[in-house]
């Protein structure tokens, strides 16, 4: 586990700065750019972005136009606003419920998981106590236990204690992030200097004050990474809410959209013809918040992932 030891603080620091380092890159003198390579990579980029462009264009179309006009260009009668309004008013505004539910589940899970992982990571990194190593290895082993293999027994347990079909059924399992703990422990080891802890203790600060006022601040970039990735995991979670919830008002956006998609698919009568446009528009709307979050916070998660990938 600890065999690779790149200069400890160097790892975190260099990568934290990496995204905003436009200065001279390695691999060749500055200014020597390759046009063929750039063109090849732009073609690659098209593969990743064209489907999303299709989704964006499709969300401006009526179900009729979806079928009759070419997918990668707008129809003669764009109606994005109509589609958005229809999406939010369908089934008494259930889509807004789904959006707010998703925000609630993902927000609470992400903040909770990040704080729990930060405290535990700090505890494992900076304190020595009986069972420290064993407990950490136990959690580390759990990284490999597939979430979906856990989901069915978790459902059965939750059914026994009456947690099924409540928001807790989604939030509680998302609070425990073994990978987040691993990341925070590695991060805390480098980012929290012992000298600062010593100095604070000399001044008579209690352990919890030290954690709240000093450590959390030092751990901020790692914290943001865990937060962001738990946010994505919960936001995108489908399996867990699918089995835990049966009240449509509690659905997150993923389960809600898939239920609409199923209606659009085999609705048969009248309803199905309009549903398709709603599924497409709802999908488009659900993608926007996370993409914005990733673009705005890219410096943080890139450095955080680096910490996890470099040290093992």
């Amino acid at each position: 586990m600890t065999t690779t030891t790149p200069p400890a603080t160097g790892v975190v620091r260099t990568t934290a700065q990496a995204p905003k380092a436009p200065k001279r890159r390695r691999g060749g003198p500055a200014g020597r750019r390759s046009t063929p390579l750039t063109i090849a990579m732009l073609a690659v980029l098209a593969y990743f972005l064209l489907p999303l462009l299709w989704l964006l264009i499709a969300s401006t179309k009526s179900t009729q136009d979806l079928i009759n006009s070419f997918g990668l260009w707008f129809s003669d009668t764009p109606q994005l606003l109509t589609n958005i309004r229809d999406t939010f008013t369908q089934d008494d505004g259930v889509f807004l419920h789904w959006l707010l539910n998703t925000l609630l589940y993902a927000g609470v899970s992400a903040v909770g998981a990040a704080v729990l992982a930060a405290a535990a990571g700090y505890g494992f990194a900076k304190f020595r106590f009986r069972g420290n190593g064993a407990a950490f290895n136990l959690v580390l082993g759990a990284v490999m236990v597939p979430a979906t293999a856990l989901a069915i027994p978790t459902y059965l347990l939750f059914a026994k204690v009456g947690l099924v079909n409540t928001p807790w059924a989604i939030i509680l399992p998302s609070l425990v992030s073994p990978f987040g703990l691993y990341l925070m422990r590695v991060y805390a080891q480098d980012a929290v200097p012992d000298s600062i802890l010593e100095a604070a203790r000399m001044d008579g600060a209690g352990e919890f004050r030290i954690f709240l006022q000093i450590v959390l601040r030092l751990l901020a970039p790692g914290l943001v990474t865990v937060l962001l990735f738990t946010l994505v995991a919960t936001w995108n979670n489908y399996f867990l809410p699918l089995i835990m919830l049966n009240d449509p008002d509690l659905y997150p956006i993923t389960v809600g959209l898939s239920s609409w998609a199923a209606q659009a698919q085999n609705g048969g009568a009248g309803a199905s013809s309009d549903m398709l446009a709603l599924v497409v528009t709802g999908s488009m709307i659900s993608v926007v918040p996370l993409v914005v979050a990733f673009v705005l916070l890219q410096r943080y998660w890139q450095s955080g992932l680096a910490t996890g990938g470099v040290k093992q």
Partner: protein, 293 residues
């Protein structure tokens, strides 16, 4: 674990306690419960009775489970190398310093990771579709037969494409971040020795990527073997191509929630989890053994 960092302090256990309590309740307890349930069987007459390992014996011989496991194993063997190779190539290209617009390209390739797999699958499902998918539209214009992405023989490839689209960028970022931590003087020394870009990539960059590659491989094992969302959603479009035991996980889900065979479902999920852990450890051990001293 650097020893000089740690000291005996009573506060340590208090910091880890909240996490560990939830870990016990939400990780170990369900696992234990699944193990317990898997040892019983619900009979039509006489209620629930202890049957020992009988469910596991049934599971090992269950042709539907075997079919599902073989399918995800096939998926893993084909999709994961393609995905990781692409991620590696893109990371090397980004790190080469030869690209214009590298920030835009990096972020653009990563963006699908932020798209929920439900949305990604619905979207690709429509793109693949024969009615208004652009592929069908294009081949119609060119008077060619439309590609049959959603047929039996294409399905695994179509699923692989969706998963690849979603996760290449994520893996690329991990590898790219690892590349950025290679010290500069190694490149300077290599340049002095007259090593070209390919030589540098092969002899310096690839070995330095080993831990990051192991990590991405590990995540891919876990992801592939519990494949569920994508087939579950496509099943609604083409129910005659994807059946309820298409992947092992889909089968476990069907057992638990459609046919109400809770005990057998517990045995199947437990077995599946065990399989993933064994394969993951096998990869970890191989990776560590090959690591130069």
């Amino acid at each position: 674990m650097a020893k000089h960092l740690a000291r005996p302090r009573s506060a340590g256990p208090l910091f880890i306690a909240p996490f560990m309590v939830l870990f016990l309740l939400l990780f170990l307890a369900p696992l234990g419960y699944a193990a317990y349930l898997s040892l019983f069987q619900e009979k039509l007459v006489g209620g629930t009775s202890f049957v020992g390992l009988e469910n596991y014996l049934t599971a090992v011989k269950d042709p539907q489970l075997r079919e599902g496991v073989i399918r995800v194993a096939t998926f893993f063997v084909i999709q994961v190398p393609v995905m990781l190779l692409l991620a590696l190539l893109f990371a090397l290209a980004l790190d080469s310093g030869l690209l214009r617009l590298s920030r835009v390209i990096r972020l653009g390739i990563f963006v699908p990771y932020a798209v929920p797999s439900v949305v990604a699958t619905l979207m690709w499902g429509y793109l693949y579709g024969p009615d208004f998918g652009p592929f069908a539209q294009l081949s119609d214009k060119l008077s060619l037969p439309a590609p049959h992405f959603l047929t039996d023989s294409w399905m695994l490839g179509s699923l692989a494409n969706i998963v690849t689209w979603e996760f290449v960028g994520y893996n690329m970022i991990i590898l790219y971040a690892a590349l950025r931590t290679i010290p500069h003087d190694l490149y300077e020394a290599a340049a002095l020795d007259g090593a070209g870009a390919w030589r540098v990539a092969w002899s310096i960059k690839l070995p330095a990527l080993r831990p990051a590659l192991t990590l991405t491989l590990l995540f891919s094992v876990i992801g592939s073997f519990q494949l569920f969302n994508e087939p579950n959603l496509l099943m609604k479009i083409v129910p005659d191509v994807i059946d309820s035991s298409y992947t092992a996980n889909l089968y476990a889900y069907t057992l638990a929630f459609t046919s109400q065979q809770i005990n057998y479902a517990a045995a199947v999920s437990f077995l599946l989890g065990l399989l993933i852990v064994i394969i993951s450890y096998a990869f970890l051990l191989t990776a560590n053994r090959r690591r130069p001293a």
